[in-house]
Symmetry: C2
Subunit: 240 residues, 2 copies
């Protein structure tokens, strides 16, 4: 009756190891017990331990060396661009107090470019949101987001106090991935006023399309970041 599903064993082992890394029981460079011992300790199969470790390797917390052991890596960037789709979270992780000013919320027919990016038929509508995101009250990002009206459903014209990602998730479209194109640009008059920087100041323009669990595009965004607002970090890896 009471909801609450049991987390998987893999996830339990992962969480426990993550805690040991987080609270200093395991330090960077430390060697983990071997997989058989860990399986014993957690009373699970070796396969289960391996999956937990694998997920921590992917997220950059551990590295494995065949024939040698598993080791704790130097902590990866938690607020990296590649592993986080929410700027609110990134601003907070950077140690700043996130805030925002909504400039405009508008429901209108999609442009040709939007229809292409969001795979919409002609005449379909989008909800367009224009915002200034702030960190410690300083303007950091000017953003224009467009979400198909169909995707939001009933939640269409509600308040935007929560993040757009929360709204999308509530509408049954959890965002799990996005493709971003990054481009350095100069602030024109309008951007310089919105972001309170000089005209010609360097900005980072990011054009992004977010996708949900079904790989359906659910939001298109254009953002302009103030240069030194917060570090934009990308974790890179060699192709498989």
């Amino acid at each position: 009756m009471s909801g609450g599903r049991r987390p998987s064993l893999v996830s339990q082992v992962r969480t426990e190891l993550l805690q040991e890394i987080g609270d200093g029981r395991l330090l960077a460079g430390d060697k983990l017990p071997n997989e058989y011992e860990l399986a014993d300790r957690f009373a699970v199969s070796r396969q289960t331990v391996r999956e937990a470790i694998q997920s921590l390797v992917v997220s950059g917390h551990l590295s494995r060396q065949r024939g040698t052991g598993t080791f704790v890596t130097t902590a990866p960037s938690r607020h990296a661009l590649d592993t986080n789709v929410s700027y609110t979270a990134m601003i907070r992780d950077a140690g700043l107090e996130p805030g925002e000013t909504v400039l405009e919320v508008l429901r209108r027919p999609a442009s040709a470019a939007e229809a292409r990016a969001l795979r919409l038929g002609s005449g379909q509508e989008v909800v367009a949101v224009e915002r200034i995101r702030r960190g410690n009250d300083r303007p950091l990002i000017y953003s224009r987001d467009r979400i198909p009206a169909d995707v939001l459903g009933d939640a269409g014209q509600e308040r935007l106090s929560d993040s757009l990602y929360a709204m999308l998730e509530a509408a049954g479209h959890r965002v799990v991935g996005a493709t971003a194109r990054l481009l350095p640009v100069l602030a024109d008059r309008r951007l310089s006023e919105l972001l309170q920087v000089g005209e010609g100041a360097p900005l980072l323009h990011i054009h992004q399309v977010d996708r949900d669990t079904d790989d359906v595009p659910v939001m298109e965004s254009d953002e302009w970041h103030v240069a030194d607002a917060f570090d934009v970090i990308v974790n890179r890896r060699a192709p498989l």
Copy 2:
């Protein structure tokens, strides 16, 4: 006697599925046979099929929906910043002919900042390389790379005709990951001359540290990219 190790079954299944996606036997949106059928077809266990599929989900080629099936996604960006550590490859993938001009190769003691980033002791030396990377003969990137002399070993003062990544791999330090910090900047006089753009033109500055399989930092780089040189794409994903 003849070397050639057999690729793992997982990798064989992965490769076969990738080919079917690549040559159009499987198109975006298509549903794959279920895991039991695939296991049958490839004469492997379901677990093996699952691992192959999992790796294609991570690389963005497939998406799984519990209770429904596994589907081919729209092709992910193959020359994305997050899944490729070589710019030569990225320039080539962007459809341009890569070229380079080496401005300087120098062996010198590491600076304090370099020693910190590369975890070097005092007095240790680095090999510093300054280059202009080109696409179709047009300057795209000005880069300064520093590699600890110890890491290169004998290959230290060889020619640089191959990529630095190839040199590192030959020296037993295959680069498998990197952390990059991106920052929009304006071209100063020197950069404008090197990259043949106007002074004050927007550039993307990337500071990067590459790591090998043992999570050891093996190269520190600073790069300045011409704004519209080629698209800088980042695939983003929600945290685990």
